[in-house]
Amino acid sequence: MKIKANYVIKTIKDEFVVVPIKDEAIRFRGIITLNNTAKFIFETLKNFNLDKKELLDLMLEKYDVDQGLLEKDIENFVKVLEENDLLE
């Protein structure tokens, strides 16, 4: 899975937000906010096409967290990405 190329991360005050670029314009509507972990995943999936297992391994290398919990978190995160049509 990979994030569509026409989505970018912007910083509004201290928040990271995802906005689409469509018809040449940055479209500030239905803005989604990301925390640091979500930003890491977003940037990774924007640059690399990874499956859930590869993403999990990458995150376990970076973060010291419980694998089961992280698996669930990734599952939920991917679901939100799908619901918002952010994946290719």
């Binding site: 912007k10 910083t11 005050k13 928040e15 040449e24 500030f28 509507r29 925390n35 972990t37 995943i41």
Partner: protein
């Protein structure tokens, strides 16, 4: 914990971000808030597309700063040192300097209808609306004068 949620931000923060992008020469869009530009722009329904330009023309709908607020109204008069704006559905005017104007609306979208503000049809419609508006404002002034 991975967090991804909808964000609610203040107008000030929102427009500061948008203006940064406009200064870079990017095109930006957002949903209109308020009814002061009715019947052209509708509250929560119309998405406006903006771009910075060097020379703003009478008739342009512009994004500008006025008394610490960001406003999207139509340029109705242009003088050497200042510009006068009014909402199409408003009776009040705003006078600002050129440096307070950030961009103009080159296109807007309401539902499936996309309107280019450069199109002759749109310009004709604006001209007609503004002429009607001038009559309304004149009659309103007259009526208020008679009451005094």
């Amino acid at each position: 914990m991975i967090c991804l949620s909808k964000l609610v931000i203040s107008n000030q923060e929102f427009f500061e971000t948008i203006i940064e992008d406009l200064k870079k020469g990017d095109k930006v869009s957002f949903l209109v808030k308020g009814n002061s530009m009715k019947p052209f722009l509708l509250d929560g329904l119309t998405e406006v597309f903006l771009l910075k330009r060097d020379n703003y023309q009478v008739g342009d709908i512009c994004l500008f700063e006025y008394r610490n607020q960001y406003i999207l109204h139509r340029l109705i008069k242009r003088h050497k040192s200042h510009f006068i704006f009014r909402g199409d559905n408003s009776v009040f005017t705003e006078t600002v300097h050129e440096e307070d104007i950030h961009a103009y609306v080159y296109q807007y979208k309401t539902g499936e209808e996309v309107v280019s503000t450069a199109s002759p049809e749109y310009r004709k419609k604006v001209k007609k609306h503004l002429a009607r508006r001038r009559i309304y404002l004149f009659l309103r002034k007259l009526a208020r004068g008679n009451k005094r």
